[in-house]
């Protein structure tokens, strides 16, 4: 197969070669989201690879950016970092760290001492004051995602979590559910609390109180273990903190002979890459994973180019994706 050229990408996306070049080289300010999306989709479809040798001649070396996430096994983060790698600007080198609390700080110091140029925090830092001082002293810029909003980073990419929670609640209200429960987690980051609060606020606006708000472990197993408690609430619909808990819950309900969506509707959160493959396919709130990754990388590149840039803030929207796991409640005889 012939290698795709930038011309092929431009043709498929229906834009000029200059547009493709600018978008791929991370100069996206002038373009609409739609154009950016078309170009990236066309590039991925054709597998277009720019000539690195040519880029090197022009540019010199790329910055090395470290990205910290809580766990590689959480599909939201796997999606996020894969998207940074595939859809992000090409003039950076990325390394990822899924450090545990016990070695989080030493991993950060180790990477910075070896010359990493910037950090992106996708997880909270327990003793962050010390880490932040270290980074500031070394003049290493850092950006925080939603999950680490308490870091007071200059640059930040956030998501409208409150609205996301509301969307999930309104969907269930519109289906006619009256007995609605939440299945949240024992340990939640700030953005998760917003999600929860938005959901409850929308229920109250609809004149309902949640019938229960159960806490479980933030994992598929946690969702599965909570099935019995969920059944005891008598709820006809559940909002799960994320897709992982939702999927575990659906399996747990199945083990108890309770069918989703016939007996209970379930709404997840994240729209991780397996949500559409489950039986039943999961109704969920889609995170703008690709955009979070691209925006975060672009901001940090801007910051590296100019440390005195004003604060950069981006707040992104979520989207309700209705699939098979939520239907109107059964009419009681």
């Amino acid at each position: 197969m012939k290698k795709a050229s930038i011309k092929d990408v431009a043709k498929l996306a229906g834009v000029s070669i200059a547009t493709v070049s600018q978008i791929i080289n991370n100069k996206k300010e002038r373009f609409s989201d739609e154009t950016i999306h078309k170009v990236i989709t066309a590039r991925n479809e054709l597998g277009y690879i720019p000539n690195i040798a040519a880029k090197r001649l022009k540019g010199g070396t790329s910055p090395l950016i470290g990205v910290l996430i809580p766990s590689f096994r959480m599909p939201f983060f796997a999606d996020l970092i894969q998207s940074m790698q595939v859809d992000g600007p090409e003039n950076v080198d990325l390394v990822f760290m899924g450090a545990n609390e016990e070695n989080l700080e030493t991993s950060i110091y180790s990477l910075i001492e070896r010359g990493a140029d910037a950090l992106i925090f996708g997880r909270p830092i327990p003793e962050h004051q010390q880490v932040i001082e270290f980074l500031n002293k070394r003049n290493v810029p850092y950006l925080s995602l939603d999950q680490s909003a308490d870091l007071d980073a200059k640059d930040q990419v956030m998501v409208r979590e409150w609205q996301g929670g509301k969307m999930a609640a309104r969907h269930l209200l519109e289906l006619g559910h009256k007995k609605i429960a939440l299945l949240m987690a024992d340990d939640m980051t700030d953005n998760m609390h917003q999600r929860e609060a938005g959901f409850i606020a929308a229920l109250l606006e609809g004149g309902l109180h949640p019938v229960d708000n159960i806490k479980t472990n933030l994992s598929k197993h946690g969702g599965m273990m909570a099935a019995e408690k969920v059944i005891e609430t008598g709820a006809t619909a559940i909002f799960a903190l994320n897709d992982e808990i939702a999927v575990g819950l659906i399996r747990g309900l199945y083990n108890h002979g309770v069918s989703v969506p016939n007996d209970i509707s379930v709404v997840g959160y994240d729209d991780t890459d397996y949500a559409e493959f489950f039986v039943p396919a999961l109704t969920t709130i889609r995170q703008p994973v690709q955009q979070i990754g691209i925006d975060a990388l672009n901001m940090i590149i801007n910051r590296l180019a100019d440390h005195d840039l004003p604060q950069q803030n981006e707040t992104l929207d979520l989207q309700l994706i209705v699939r098979e796991s939520s239907i109107p409640p059964r009419v009681m005889d």
Copy 2:
């Protein structure tokens, strides 16, 4: 909650404190797999954290090890690197790279130039001769996993893929299937070819030829898109290259009104962390993910301590996990 001590871990695991200390500090040679497993499980359950300050006083700085994988979105690799992070020795700092082919080499150079101490290759390197020369010149040790066996690394962790394929075939033969097909991928690494060959060899030993060997994209979508072709083979059982393809296939068959396992049995490969949550739960071949990660890290630490060590090789076993997606074929009227 009181912080767990090494004493608590020893008590829960039913072993001595010295045993816990040695296993956690990566001196495992003298212990059985069972003891190692008990200690690691107890440690994880209690969340035991050794005193890093004390370790630092004794040891100095930790080596930084880079791990290359093909994609963060492939659950096998997500499991593998998470396991390295959580269950691996604590005296190393780990960074992970999921580089694309286009920036693979620059990412490697970038990390090494900044002082990374060793590399683990979990993916093939297209132009590896140049990369290997670079690493050798800099005296940077590297280890290869199965997926990159062609690198001729001094140290290597492999899995008995041929046996894994055989296990899957024998399971289906024992259930009484006579019409068996394979669903493989367009692009396969060497270890995947061994898997395929082992499966076919065991069928031949059982006096059967596969009714078909379909190739698809190595993804959930690839599995789903292949459903129609799979139905056309008339097979009563399918061996999918991995769990991702298996799960996509099951969903695709469902979309065509074909039920797994009632109409067709499906066996996956990897035992990724969602296999048990699917409906139907997936019969699969379990990879020794935790052991691959721990062994690879221990070998590379040994190598860093002594560059002249003889070649280190480990070949690990797989395990058949029977769940709901495979049953005997329906008796025809």
